[in-house]
């Protein structure tokens, strides 16, 4: 089928709901309204109100009820309406979902997915554009997947739903509808914990994920016309980090630029740079560069195009890393 990312995500949930009756979908406005981005459109009509249902407006309990459902053996898919509101869910995810298996010596597990759109340049109000993946990457026990294409959106989400560990699934709002692709019908998975080489290259490794993986690919294309050959590593899973793929690529190219929209300081880009210098130190011809959001909160809309890395920001860093 042809699908954009949001349709791919919807299809993943449809497939999961159809094949496993323990799968349920809950969140604000996911029922009749089909989600504010229509990610759950039609699912309530198809699978009934018992399996696809609206919750009260309360993000801590959306996650917390998910933990209880999962403990009982169901496979909840919880939607948080915008990524910035994950702050409110964090306690239930980090202190509860991530540790349920540990606390019960494996007797119970929190096999659940927490979905949320994230990211900027969509002219949204305050707190709607934040990229909070790093909070979860710093939370062992929970996985973080961030798709970049319709194909991996569906495959990663199905993998996340099947996974026995809790997975935070962050969806690139900016490219929800931009990309259309042929994706397989029915069930397939893109494995969690494995990055993909989205483009091969020899001069520099671009590490990115989510919407920025697409931006990195565009930048790589532009840079190719200048004779620079970029390898693009699309993480797909941000945590646990596929260090092996990143390191192997940098060992080949000798240079790396890490890209994300999240705040720079203590962002996941820092972890990636730290890992690269730890494991590929003697291959590195220049320091790893980070192209990220600034060390400020996500800005007012008028400045978001300056804040969120575009192809120009990436190209600038690539030129620098090549000069060094």
């Amino acid at each position: 089928m042809k699908a954009n990312i949001v349709e791919a995500i919807q299809d993943a949930m449809r497939v999961a709901l159809a094949r496993d009756k323990d799968v349920v979908v809950l969140g604000e406005d996911v029922g009749k309204n089909g989600g504010v981005f229509r990610a759950t459109d039609g699912l309530q009509a198809e699978f009934g109100e018992a399996r696809v249902f609206d919750t009260p407006l309360a993000e801590s309990s959306i996650a917390g009820v998910g933990v209880g459902l999962a403990a009982y053996g169901l496979r909840p898919i919880c939607e948080i309406q915008f990524g910035g509101f994950l702050y409110i869910s964090l306690n239930q995810i980090a202190s509860q979902a991530a540790r349920l298996r540990l606390r019960t010596a494996g007797h119970l597990q929190a096999a659940m997915v927490i979905r949320a759109p994230y990211g900027g340049k969509v002219r949204t109000p305050d707190l709607h554009s934040d990229s909070l993946e790093t909070l979860f990457a710093h939370t062992p026990g929970v996985k973080v997947a961030m798709p970049s294409t319709p194909y991996n959106a569906k495959g990663l989400l199905l993998a996340a739903i099947d996974d026995p560990d809790p997975v935070v699934f962050l969806e690139p709002m900016r490219i929800y509808r931009g990309l259309r692709q042929d994706i397989p019908d029915g069930h397939y998975t893109v494995p969690l914990g494995v990055a993909r080489i989205a483009r091969e290259g020899t001069d520099v490794t671009l590490v990115a994920y989510g919407a920025e993986a697409q931006t990195a690919l565009e930048a790589a294309q532009q840079l190719a016309t200048e004779g620079v050959s970029c390898e693009v590593v699309d993480l797909q899973t941000v945590s646990p980090l596929d260090r092996e793929t990143i390191v192997a690529s940098v060992q080949k190219t000798g240079r790396a630029v890490v890209v994300h929209e999240a705040v720079r300081q203590a962002g996941i880009g820092a972890e990636i740079a730290a890992v690269i210098q730890e494991q590929a130190f003697y291959s590195l011809a220049a320091p790893v560069q980070r192209v990220t959001g600034w060390n400020t909160p996500f800005p007012f809309v008028q400045a978001e195009h300056l804040y969120v890395p575009g192809t120009a920001h990436i190209a600038q860093a690539v030129r620098r890393v090549l000069q060094d």
Binding site: E28, N33, V36, L57, A58, R123, N295, P297, V301, H313
Partner: protein
């Protein structure tokens, strides 16, 4: 199994209403608005209607971002704002834009915000916290600001506002509980407009009223007809003055209806019927108040049209000023993030700016 011990809810909250839908005066109250205040209420409500129309059309023209609509809720907003003192603190959400403006925040500040720019600062004598987007999160702020007033020995009152949906958030609970334990001068004002985006009030909470939630905190509660500006004013006035007198917080539920979409991005036909909307449109709060003013001989021929005209020109002037303002610059982001930047913040700022300058064209991407 027969229920022997469990006590089912028995809270009864008759709706306070002073003016009928037809504009007939049903009752009087000590705290009701005087003649001049009634005219003020009317003026602000008319302004609110025009404001809403203009904001929606600005959004359609791509001149501002997504905006919530307030049509149908003008009485709640105006009644609330006018019953407060300018120095009382208004702490609300995007649904209280009219209340913010009536309370003293400039139209331009509001427009700037929706243009995605730096909002202008509030006038120094206006008590207000920013328009809150994270649902419910402002409720503990209201408890805190009210406690601040109490500790400072001021007689300011803090009014925390939210929607029916917001009452489900943990912060709503925590804020009301704190306020009541510490007996702070706060009023909590919930605009129950029937919907939280697509979730109807009945699926938001199983309690019959929002007002009865006050009892969980040993706090008085009241349901008021939110389309009756006179009643909203009177009820808020009572609660605010009671809080000011040191008698503690209260919860007000103003029952109203969101006639328009949740925001300009919302399609309400997905989740509610046209009939439902049409039925509620019968009870237009502006029309109701106008009928009262007419019945009581306060309304003057052509008044509404004149007020609409005034509102339009105020809006135009404010839009012009807001659109003349320069765009946010990256250095502002750093300077507004930190009141006391450290050396490394200054270096971040400088590096960010010089990187962007080097790019030059990035702004036009």
């Amino acid at each position: 199994m027969q229920a022997n011990f469990l006590r089912p809810p028995q809270a009864e909250f008759p709706v306070v209403r002073l003016v009928g839908v037809d504009g007939a005066r049903l009752a009087h109250a000590e705290t009701e608005p005087d003649r001049e205040t009634m005219l003020d209420l009317f003026r602000w409500m008319v302004f609110g209607r025009i404001f809403d129309q203009r904001m929606i059309s600005l959004q359609r023209q791509g001149r501002i971002g997504t905006i919530g609509t307030i049509r149908g809720q003008e009485a709640s907003a105006a009644g609330l704002a006018l019953a407060m003192r300018r120095s009382d603190w208004l702490i609300g959400s995007y649904r209280e834009l009219l209340a913010y403006i009536a309370h003293g925040v400039s139209i331009e500040t509001v427009i700037s915000l929706y243009r995605g720019g730096v909002p202008g600062p509030f006038p120094a004598d206006v008590g207000a916290m920013p328009i809150q987007i994270v649902i419910g999160t402002q409720i503990p702020h209201a408890a805190g600001a009210a406690l601040g007033a109490k500790l400072r020995g001021s007689d300011d009152v803090a009014v925390g506002c939210c929607g029916d949906g917001a009452t489900s958030e943990g912060d709503f609970h925590e804020g009301l509980n704190f306020a009541s334990v510490h007996k702070v001068p706060a009023v909590f004002f919930v605009q129950n407009n029937g919907w939280a985006i697509s979730v109807p009030r009945a699926r938001q909470t199983a309690s019959e009223t929002i007002a009865q939630k006050a009892w969980a905190y040993g706090m008085p509660g009241v349901v008021v007809d939110g389309n009756d500006a006179v009643a909203v004013y009177a009820v808020v006035k009572e609660a605010v003055e009671r809080a000011r007198a040191g008698d503690g917080p209260a919860l007000i539920e103003a029952v109203t209806y969101r006639v328009g979409p949740h925001t300009t991005s919302d399609d309400p036909r997905r989740y509610r019927s046209d009939e439902e909307v049409a039925q509620h449109e019968q009870d237009d709060p502006i029309a109701r108040l106008r009928r009262l003013l007419e019945r009581e001989g306060i309304y003057e021929e052509g008044m509404q049209e004149r007020l609409e005209e005034e509102a339009r020109s105020e809006m135009s002037a404010a839009i012009e000023r807001a659109e003349a303002a320069p765009d946010v610059t990256p250095d502002q982001m750093f300077d507004l993030t930190w009141a006391a930047p450290t050396e490394s913040v200054q270096k971040d700022r400088a590096q960010t700016i010089s990187d962007l300058q080097e790019l030059g064209e990035v702004g036009k991407e």
